[in-house]
Symmetry: D2
Subunit: 291 residues, 4 copies
Amino acid sequence: MASKPTPNQSTAILLISCPDQSGIVAAISNFLFENQGNILDVDQHVDRDENAFFMRIEWEVDGFGIDREKISEAIAPLADKFSMTWTLNFSDVLPRVAIFVTKENHCLYDLLSRHESRELAMEIPLIISNREDLRSAAERFDIPFHHLPITKENKQEQEQKQIALIKENNCEMVILAKYMQILSNQMCEALPNQIINIHHSFLPAFPGARPYHSAFKRGVKIVGATGHYVTKDLDEGPIIAQGVTQVSHRDSVKAFIRKGRDLEQTVLSRAVWLHINRRTLVFGNRTVVFG
Amino acid sequence: MASKPTPNQSTAILLISCPDQSGIVAAISNFLFENQGNILDVDQHVDRDENAFFMRIEWEVDGFGIDREKISEAIAPLADKFSMTWTLNFSDVLPRVAIFVTKENHCLYDLLSRHESRELAMEIPLIISNREDLRSAAERFDIPFHHLPITKENKQEQEQKQIALIKENNCEMVILAKYMQILSNQMCEALPNQIINIHHSFLPAFPGARPYHSAFKRGVKIVGATGHYVTKDLDEGPIIAQGVTQVSHRDSVKAFIRKGRDLEQTVLSRAVWLHINRRTLVFGNRTVVFG
Amino acid sequence: MASKPTPNQSTAILLISCPDQSGIVAAISNFLFENQGNILDVDQHVDRDENAFFMRIEWEVDGFGIDREKISEAIAPLADKFSMTWTLNFSDVLPRVAIFVTKENHCLYDLLSRHESRELAMEIPLIISNREDLRSAAERFDIPFHHLPITKENKQEQEQKQIALIKENNCEMVILAKYMQILSNQMCEALPNQIINIHHSFLPAFPGARPYHSAFKRGVKIVGATGHYVTKDLDEGPIIAQGVTQVSHRDSVKAFIRKGRDLEQTVLSRAVWLHINRRTLVFGNRTVVFG
Amino acid sequence: MASKPTPNQSTAILLISCPDQSGIVAAISNFLFENQGNILDVDQHVDRDENAFFMRIEWEVDGFGIDREKISEAIAPLADKFSMTWTLNFSDVLPRVAIFVTKENHCLYDLLSRHESRELAMEIPLIISNREDLRSAAERFDIPFHHLPITKENKQEQEQKQIALIKENNCEMVILAKYMQILSNQMCEALPNQIINIHHSFLPAFPGARPYHSAFKRGVKIVGATGHYVTKDLDEGPIIAQGVTQVSHRDSVKAFIRKGRDLEQTVLSRAVWLHINRRTLVFGNRTVVFG
């Protein structure tokens, strides 16, 4: 057993949710032990009230007793026995991600910078926006930019184009990097727990539009940002990460916005990092985050 | 000019709010300059949207050109000229404070401990509670304890007894140190901006009862506490101080409560410290805090 | 499996450190599974660089297949096989703790308050001090107070009296709650990893005396506090918990000290809570904290 | 008086340090009052121990009774009277800044992103590096990139080229955005209090090389970053801003580095924002930050 893989080391990552019962950990441990699995990281959690068991386990592909294309098959009986919901991913298969933006550049640049430095191990085949403002930002990083303006009338149609683009590009997830449009149900349902949004408040405080203005008006002494999965209920999806910073009476609404931007980009990138490293599990409207 | 008075140094503290206009600072500066005022601390703020001016100025009583009992009189013309709302206090006149509690002891003990060490320069002539639980805590510190149980039927009557006790004891302010009763309007109006409450959430998130349970259910990653002035609108009064701490999926509701207690006592004591050091000004539903 | 025991539920807590090797988790899981252990909480960690395995596992005593007085015996073969260093504790056997103080009251009162509310499940048979200042605080809470003044000449002798008192009172641990004396090696060696100190800085910054003065002089924008195990090297023992808060140019040394006190009491109580709930493991000069 | 200028509003910003004495505030207030100065923001501070007075005052150029090119002349007698050290800047004259980098991209991209969105109101005529790694990053944003590799032998010569480039480009300040070379005295003295560095630790903890490795080895529970002015004493210059984040035993050195990057870019950009908005004053080895 050991802690973190080196970059060129391929790992398998198994994420499990199931009803809690005795023997799960022993069964999984034995399965890996018997197949010479060199476990790199393991974390687990039991929610007593929900009687639910959660686990993330990561091991080296190299040297494992089962070929990588046959691992799923080998896990299936175990999964059946314990009624597991599970996913198996490999660290060398990078998730493909579509980024949605509107006009603010900071979250986009933060994602692109971390992508370039390989902190965020993902592929970004396209950026979609309802405005033209950030085309040059996309072009700076040589990423195709799709302008799909949204009006009340064309919203459903444009979303279908977005979904088509996501499929064509084999994207498994979407990042809303200050995308100032509300997604319709069709989009939310097309990618359940695969769309991450950054909301510029400390949810559930100040949902909806203009949270900094509301926070200023309420006279709060701390502002926040929330990275969460998108569901059909606006700003009510499962929370992945939150951050806060202090404000005072000296801060105008503009200062709230400026200080909030620091949080937005950091919290969004952290939520994305957790997701693409397969460290998040959703149950009900909450998350388990193996950080 | 200088920063902080030594304990045995008496200081005068002037707090001012008024419509902003040119010449205020010059006028006050000149007034103190001409009377040999040795200014120890000055802070000011202008709210452009509200066109409002706020100032706190502290100077040594010893050596000042006007006798302390005649300072108010001397300020009056200046105050009239600029339509100031103002208060003048002296650091050697300790505010008298009534503490209200129910059954949780942590905020009470934190206040009493800071009182004993003179961090909180105030007098505590009485503790009032709707339960008997904390009588022994009050007795440990030799402070009279009044048990005034509250029911739907007797609430108005008991509050009148509370108000009478506050008056008899010449208390200028009330601290609700986890007092689990909602004050009626008569009480709020009797002591406007002189009642400080600690709410166990990051307001405006989770107002009302059982905020930790709500926070747990919502799956937040950070919990908070809020020290605020009490108004007739529950949990909507002007915020003085807020604090937050991280939680994770590993934390049960009990852990939320435990971690929250640390915040509650720290944030409440900070809010009280700011108030009794005359560092807070309320305007509308917000505060200026000269921290 | 489940999360947290209710107060009247007795639990067994096993803490393990050993060289990492395959099969440990499976072996422990099987041991508990075969004896009908209802696991309430489990956390583990592997340090790859050190090739070290750490685990904390908590299960219900009631219903377990082995009588509580025979559990150690039953674990022994497993422990031998994997060369484990291990401790077994029961939640209903409260640790007995000696608190050392000098003259500042805030950490002491915070501990006593949490003890009274049972947040800190421990017994405090005595308080020891090199000064008389806090005798009244001890008496308020009906805890025997021992005054053992320390001079260069009598230090060794007085420490022997301290050690004798600790033994007579069957204390397993010591809390230095702002005890302003340096312990000699004999004391450190008498209670290895059982003495917790609060240092009033963000270690390793500002070790030694007057850290707030040094922090002020250096012009830092954040101050901190550190709860750590005491070793013979002053302020260099394994860190359990740290906290920080912001300061600015407006803060005098006195304000640094005042803001720091909030941290000191919170961080010390957190470190103590972690220790007495058997959530800390020391390896080398670091800690694993199953928080 | 009012709070913050709108973007197209030109403001004058006066920064003052001088020995404290009565009448300074009155004198400055009167000077602006008599010339119809519309004050937008004012902040001041007195350091009693040093007997030093500090002030930042910002007012509208438009409508002021003195032409902008004659303001300095008008201030001079006042400045002489109170022995002021002072600077006068105008918000519409953007500071020209040279950015130094080595190979990590995150701080550079964060600065460039904030520059593009005009959060950082400055001009960046050049980027200098001792390596080629970030040439493409500079080119993405169309900023000239100068590669000046440094060896022990050529260091002095290359620094003279750097200084020449800074002068040719009329840069008033330098940002070390993870520039992994120690500046020699000649460079520090060429731009006193005009070079801002980000150090990847919570100074004064872990100065020098590889702070994350040292922090990991020491077993700290919090890591930090420090934005500071560069002086000839490495990592000992006046601190402008600091930030911290929590770590645990689960975090490897790599995780320390990853979490630290978030701090580094945020803290550096905040320090730069404060500096170019003329909100920092250095005295001795400390700063006054009118945040």
